[in-house]
């Protein structure tokens, strides 16, 4: 892999940019691999990357039915934060956030991590108490967050309506090092680094069956033939239920649609991320100037990557109330992704009933922010066969044992 650098740009500028190489190779699948990851979203690619980087396992394939990053990783609103309440969540999301800080340098790929600051508005007294509690918990967990009053909110977000008639802003949970990153770049950067380590990223290859003997996975049936493997990692977000069915077990997961939309681009007007969970909407401004907007999920199972229209209306109603100046903005694009919701809204990074098969899923509406930490924990689980401290609490058996991580981590609106 040729490194990207200021010298590379200068060199290429002098020769009509003829020397840039492909960011990753597109090889034919081999007969078999030491490890296969299904799903080339951020979580799958990061899992492969840390398998190579942290454990030296590089005879690895990442198998993707569409194009890499074409699932939720390329469809999300890119909010990154780690201000969760429960210890296991704070640990893994803060690990991820911390890795994001230096990810561009680590991958030699600009993921445009922008720790611009993130506010979660409190608009009811119940929320005020809830967020104060979170701030105290975060201080104990070593996650840096603070409680700020309405005056400071207005300073940080001049376009906000502090005293709306229904839900005046009573303050906010503020994480100064929260923010956003470029979603595609996260997938592309990991893919390029994996490919450079000699891993195969195989796109346009759908897994259709899991072959096994005596409770151990032997390989995968795919649309490009059978591929053998010694270890299998399933990292397919909204399609986890389907892969689990192929492997012969059932998950506490339901697939529903979550939508987002962006406005026409306007001049810079908001340089933080604002989430308003009571009225159900959140917004940030992209580098191009578009207002990036998201809201809640539909309540019913859906695999169509298309959500219900009335949710858009509800989201926009909430945001116009919070930011009156956006009322005349035109919305340019809207899309949906299929998110994997668990019973306690926390993710699963776990062994499965099959000895050499591992699963990473359940990130639901909020897993972009977790990509580096989740990949780190999944690689450890796959390499050692046992979960490390980051993954230990996220076992799929917690639902049987009643050990929920009841966080609403991935809940309808809270990204």
């Amino acid at each position: 892999m040729k490194r990207y650098s200021v010298f590379a740009i200068a060199r290429e500028a002098l020769r009509y940019h003829q020397g840039w190489e492909r960011a990753w190779k597109s090889p034919e699948p081999k007969k078999s691999y030491d490890a296969i990851i299904v799903g080339a979203g951020g979580h799958g690619l990061a899992s492969a990357y840390y398998l190579g980087k942290n454990y030296g396992i590089t005879n690895v394939a990442v198998i993707e039915k569409g194009w890499l990053g074409g699932g939720n990783t390329g469809r999300n609103t890119t909010i990154i934060r780690s201000n969760y309440l429960q210890d296991p969540s704070a640990a893994i999301y803060e690990k991820a956030r911390a890795l994001y800080e230096t990810l561009s340098q680590d991958l030699n790929y600009n993921v445009m991590f922008s720790p611009r600051g993130l506010l979660m508005l409190a608009q009811t007294h119940h929320e005020v108490r809830g967020y104060l509690r979170t701030v105290h918990a975060n201080n104990l967990q070593g996650v840096s967050t603070e409680w700020i009053g309405p005056g400071r909110v207005k300073e940080l977000v001049p376009i906000i309506n502090i005293d709306g008639p229904r839900y005046p802003v009573l303050g906010a949970l503020y994480q100064a090092r929260g923010g956003t990153a470029r979603h595609d770049a996260v997938a592309w950067g990991y893919a390029r680094a994996c490919s450079a380590m000699g891993m195969d990223i195989i796109q346009q290859c759908e897994v259709t069956g899991v072959t096994q003997s005596n409770g151990v996975v032997t390989g995968l049936d795919t649309t490009r033939g059978h591929i053998g493997c010694k270890k299998l990692g399933i990292v397919v977000a909204g399609h986890s239920g389907q892969l689990a069915e192929m492997a012969g077990f059932r998950l506490p997961i339901e697939a529903v649609a979550l939508q987002a939309l962006v406005s026409e681009p306007i001049k810079p007007c908001m340089d933080v991320v604002v989430m308003a969970n009571t009225v159900h909407g959140y917004m940030s401004q992209s580098d191009k100037g578009e207002m990036v907007i998201g809201g809640g999920t539909d309540g019913f199972n859906n695999y169509t990557q298309r959500g219900s229209f009335h949710h858009i209306e509800e989201t926009l109603r909430a945001l116009v109330e919070t930011f009156p100046m956006i009322s005349r903005l035109k919305m340019l694009r809207q899309w949906g992704g299929i998110v994997d919701m668990t019973g306690d809204r926390s993710p699963i990074i776990s062994k499965t009933p099959l000895g050499n098969c591992f699963i990473n899923c359940g990130w639901g509406t909020g897993g972009f922010k977790a990509i580096p930490g989740s990949g780190w924990a999944m690689a450890e689980l796959m390499a050692k066969g046992e979960p490390g401290p980051l993954a230990a609490e996220f076992s799929m058996w917690r639902f049987k044992e009643g050990q929920f991580i009841d966080e609403s981590v991935a809940a309808g609106v809270a990204h």
Partner: protein, 107 residues
Amino acid sequence: MLILECPCCGVKAEETELSPGGEAHLKRFGPGSSDEEFEAYMFARKNPKGVHFERWRHAYGCGKWFLAARCTATLEVFGTYPAQTSEPPADIVAKIKAKRPDWKGYK
């Protein structure tokens, strides 16, 4: 837009009148049952990509619960039926089979 005909009052209700209630025909388990049974009842879900049976409530209409057969991959509705049934009725099953010949049937 999703439209379901409420079998209780006959109204063709659109989505905003309805609230979804999750997978239908779950077998209930209570105190005294095993951890596995309780987990299966509370959390394990079929979550199929394709034919699915669900509970719905005509929340902003007659207020009653009913069941619906729907395809989660295309959003096609096969039919609705009363909540007082323990498995999908034969006419609904026949209708689905006619439209989805490779559907494995309700299990």
